[in-house]
């Protein structure tokens, strides 16, 4: 029937959309990390003059979105859709940024997998003939996330060793029907997988099964293995999650070899006291928009799989004792 579908969960793009531009804005801590030089803009503090952290996050997202538009060198009126998402209730960061950017807006929520999910959706819109240009942006902010999900930032709590640090940042890409740049060739939409993890301080363990499930289905759908990729990056599994995912994949018959890594463990180093690594929508977003895009454009990486990892709980569901459902979305980008 559909020549665009492959297997159970994967779509293959007939005319792979081009990533025409990318832009990343991060906070000071991320700027001091190992990937500091790959980001376009580093803020000097968490507020940058805004009145609240929520307003700061929205401003950061706006800057990233505008950065992509400027770098692509096209006028804003040529963009057909804007897809954006974040971690806040009702994705307010994105809503308020969308108010300023004023394009037809599709709000997306995939928790920390929102970047990969948005790239998949944006590519479907273009390859399906519904758009010529799609603007994508995703943000998160350490302080807005702490306030909403965990505790006030000045409260003297001790964080668990498995806990992760929400990345303060915003990453954006601009997709186009034609042009020069790395191309999105396929996408695998994940299923929600919940293996009963109730500890909100151990997101890695909660998301690992979902990421593994998506990767396995992706391989089965496209009849590929890990060796067909130069680089497979999960969004924010952290040190605990990526070890678990690799082990689960191995037990399920898929040895990931040496190409499997995680944006959350790359964005901070061990001196920054982030315990299990970075997390948040911006984690995969700024690492992709910065480091991965640069290496794709330079020809250093030829075929990359970005697997966004999301924990689909809420503070309320956690208080009610519910477990944390996870999801993973994969997109393939080729130079």
């Amino acid at each position: 029937m559909d020549s665009k579908r492959a297997g159970n969960q994967t779509v293959v793009f007939g005319s792979p959309p081009v990533i025409l531009a990318s832009y990343s804005v991060v906070g000071p801590k991320e700027g001091q990390g190992p990937l500091g030089k790959t980001f376009n803009k580093i803020w000097k503090d968490q507020l940058n003059g805004e009145k609240s952290w929520e307003l700061a996050e929205s401003k950061m997202l706006q800057e990233a979105l505008q950065g992509s538009i400027d770098e692509a060198g096209i006028t804003k009126d040529r963009i057909d859709f804007m897809l954006a998402g974040d971690l806040l209730n009702q994705i307010v960061s994105s809503n308020f940024a969308a108010r300023q950017i004023a394009l037809p807006f599709i709000g997306v929520y995939g928790a920390c997998s929102t970047m990969a999910l948005s790239i998949a959706l944006g590519s479907m819109l273009i390859d399906g003939g519904f758009a010529e240009y799609v603007l994508i942006g995703v943000s998160s902010h350490h302080d807005t996330a702490e306030r909403q999900f965990r505790a006030p930032t000045e409260q003297g709590n001790q964080r668990a060793m498995s806990a992760q640090w929400t990345v303060t940042g915003a990453g954006s890409v601009l997709l186009g029907k034609q042009g020069v740049g790395p191309r999105v060739t396929a996408a695998t939409i994940g299923r929600v997988i919940d293996y009963g993890e109730t500890d909100a301080n151990n997101m890695g363990s909660a998301m690992a099964p979902a990421v593994a499930d998506t990767i396995l289905n992706h391989f089965q759908d496209l009849k590929r293995t890990a060796q067909d990729y130069d680089h497979i990056a999960s969004g924010d599994l952290g040190t605990v999650g990526i070890a678990l995912a690799a082990e689960v994949l191995k037990q399920s018959g898929s040895d990931m070899g040496t190409v499997f890594t995680d944006c959350g463990i790359r964005i901070f180093d061990s001196t920054q006291d982030v315990h299990a690594g970075g997390s948040g929508c911006a984690c995969s977003s700024v690492v992709f928009a910065g480091d991965l895009m640069q290496r794709l454009k330079a020809g250093e990486l030829k075929r990359v799989m970005l697997v966004g990892s999301g924990a689909l709980h809420s503070p309320t569901s956690a208080l009610q004792g519910e477990s944390i459902p996870g999801i993973g979305h994969a997109v393939v980008i080729e130079a």
């Binding site: 060793m161 396995l216 399920s252």
Partner: protein
């Protein structure tokens, strides 16, 4: 609990086995280090409280009055250090050593109130002062009332 999906799960590991696997991969808290730090920080905070009690006794307050005044003073310092942004650093290091003393109680009052100031002074600061203090007062006062009633019937 696993989702009811249309296809069998692709993964070769059952949820129960995964739980065991996850436990073995999850780092345990550094209990011995935490205990030593909690002991030291908690001890220092209480020692400071004792010096304050002694000071108030020296200037003429009774034992009970000095104890009350010392508690109030420690609350003041806990609140101040939270406002200055210092108490969360003490908490990261000291764990229960900074949470259990009454200075930690003050920290749990000021931190949410400060955080939610941007939502206004009534519903932000006013309401959020009690996110942690509220349960402490509810259960503490309720316990004391029940104890009082029991004491009444015993005598």
């Amino acid at each position: 609990m696993t989702n009811q999906s249309l296809r069998e799960p692709t993964l070769s590991i059952s949820p129960e086995d995964y739980k065991t696997l996850a436990k073995s991969y999850t780092p345990k808290p550094t209990i011995v280090k935490n205990i030593l730090r909690a002991f030291f920080v908690g001890g220092v905070i209480c020692a400071i409280g004792q010096v304050i009690i002694n000071f108030f006794s020296l200037i003429g307050l009774t034992r009970a009055e000095a104890s009350n005044a010392s508690t109030a003073t420690m609350i003041f310092f806990g609140a101040l250090l939270t406002g200055l942004g210092v108490y969360d650093e003490i908490g990261k290091f000291g764990g229960a050593g900074s949470i259990v003393p009454v200075t930690g109680f003050a920290n749990s009052i000021v931190s949410p109130a400060m955080e939610f100031k941007r939502e206004g002074y009534v519903q932000g600061v006013g309401a959020k002062l009690f996110t942690v203090a509220g349960p402490v007062l509810v259960y503490g006062i309720a316990a004391s009332i029940i104890i009082g009633v029991i004491a009444y019937f015993i005598h």
